[in-house]
Amino acid sequence: MTDPRTAENKKLDPEESYQSNQVLNPDDWLPEEDAKRLTSRTSRRGFLIAAGAGIAAVSGWQWLRTRPNDDGIPWPLRKVLNLNGNVAGALSPLSRLSPEYSKSQARMPRANGTIGLENELGIDWALNVFGLTDPAKPITLSLSDIQALPRVEMVTRLCCIEGWSEVVHWAGARVSDLAARFPLATADARLLSSPHPNINTAAYLSAMTPDGEYFVGLDMKSALHPQTLLCYEMNGQPLEPIHGAPLRLTVPVKYGIKSLKCVGALRFTNQRPPDYWAMRGYDYYAGL
């Protein structure tokens, strides 16, 4: 830092001669040759630092993209995705609902995936639900058991992870109502009394197609969300096979990859269940 008075004096006296051994101040008006010398010295240093930063940036990029994969993506990226999921989960109250639309806006969405739907379903389809306390002994439910639960209708947007979306009119039963009707979701084998997960509640819900080819994992808060349904109707019609007949999940607070078509088994569990697309590089949380 130069003394401002000294700097001022220099400005007032442009005739002042500069000694070559003097430290040059770039803020002062200098003889042009001195200023040029100072410029090349400063530039050399600046460009060396810039080149170093450039090399560091490229190395950082190379390092990041060559890290060992964690479920299909470099592990540091997976860590950030999980962190994003935790932040989003913490900021998502159950009261935050997916916006509803009018029935006239509902359309049939494109049927995007057939994984888990390729095997012919027998007429003996049944839903096996594994509770938290007795994971070896599922209860077996028929479609009419599900239809006996309170019927919920909603018109929500189905958002595909590919980027398209469609408004759909759904009808089905809440997963939370299933857990309130059968002792499945709590560690002490009680009926669920509130959709707000607590220390007793299972941490995850796993859903699987009858052939086990397609499977998803849901955090319990999303599974017990009031708009998370086991659906048996779309747009006023019973489900078509391509949309997951006879029963499918719909989870409007998640991308469509979590809305598993043709549920064969549900499992309440404390271990994070495998998830078909999360194993292939996608975000596990996948929340909207």
Partner: protein, 262 residues
């Protein structure tokens, strides 16, 4: 002819010596390396290069999975975003998961960088050079005419002229727009009020895409202007200072307070 041109150019040492009535008593030419871009502005500016590159690239990986936008009149498609060749050439196809992973990791850096830059310009007073003011619109018009060689009236000596003020303020607003529209399509349930405000999920996705096209256009014009403005100007974005002669028009002539710089 060459001699005549040299004589006319006001800044050459030769012309001074020749034109000066008494060469022996001519004052020595003075120059300095004048402060221009504060360190934080330079860091933030250059960090944008890798961050924007990764955000635009990963955005394309995501967009590929539902590449529905096109410019069309009636049934005549003028341009499809994007032709298959474009994806093939840059290997952008079938990489949605990868694109989302990069996009949702580097969005933090993009947001943080913008926050630091805006915060710094506000606190340091640098905003005075950047925000449009009453003269900006007229001046920007003048700059455009000047750049198109439609007027010879010289540009006023300014750190950032009217066109630059509009462009640099505009691109910050675009950045904010990208954050807002991005959040609206990233969390359309959690921030459904915002998604609705932007015209809905589908509209917000289009807005997010259009802003990216806007960046690309900005970058192209920016690069052309940097080339046109020359080496001294470019170097200032690296070393922070520009070489300037005392005799040249200077935006910093009535000295600005030192405190506003690094």
């Amino acid at each position: 002819m060459v001699v005549a041109r040299t004589l006319l150019s006001g800044h050459s040492r030769l012309s001074r010596l020749v034109l000066s009535p008494n060469p022996q008593k001519a004052k020595p030419m003075k120059a300095r390396l004048q402060r221009k871009h504060p360190l934080i502005v330079r860091l933030s500016h250059w960090l944008n290069v890798p961050v924007l590159a990764i955000m635009i690239w990963s955005g394309l990986l995501i967009y590929w999975a539902n590449d529905v936008y096109r410019i069309q009149f009636g049934s005549v498609v003028l341009f499809k975003f994007f032709p298959e060749k474009f994806y093939d050439l840059l290997h952008l196809d079938h990489r949605l998961a990868e694109g989302m992973a990069w996009h949702f990791a580097f969005m933090w850096l993009f947001a943080l960088n913008g926050l630091v830059y805006v915060g710094y310009t506000l606190v340091s007073g640098e905003w005075r050079y950047l925000l449009p003011n009453r003269q900006t619109l007229a001046e920007a018009f003048h700059v455009v005419l000047h750049d198109l060689h439609l007027t010879k009236k010289p540009l006023p000596p300014r750190k950032f002229n009217g066109a630059q003020r509009l462009a640099y303020t505009g691109v910050i607003l675009m950045g904010l727009g990208s954050l807002v529209t991005g959040l609206a399509i990233y969390k359309p349930v959690q921030v459904s009020w915002l998604t609705n405000l932007l015209g809905g999920y589908e509209a917000a996705r289009l807005e997010h895409f259009a802003l990216t096209i806007g960046y690309v256009l900005f970058i192209l014009i920016h690069l052309a202007q940097v080339v046109k403005a020359g080496w001294n100007n470019f170097r200032a974005m690296i070393i922070g200072r520009e070489f300037i002669r005392e005799s040249e028009p200077n935006w910093n002539q009535p000295a600005v307070p030192e405190a506003s710089h690094d």
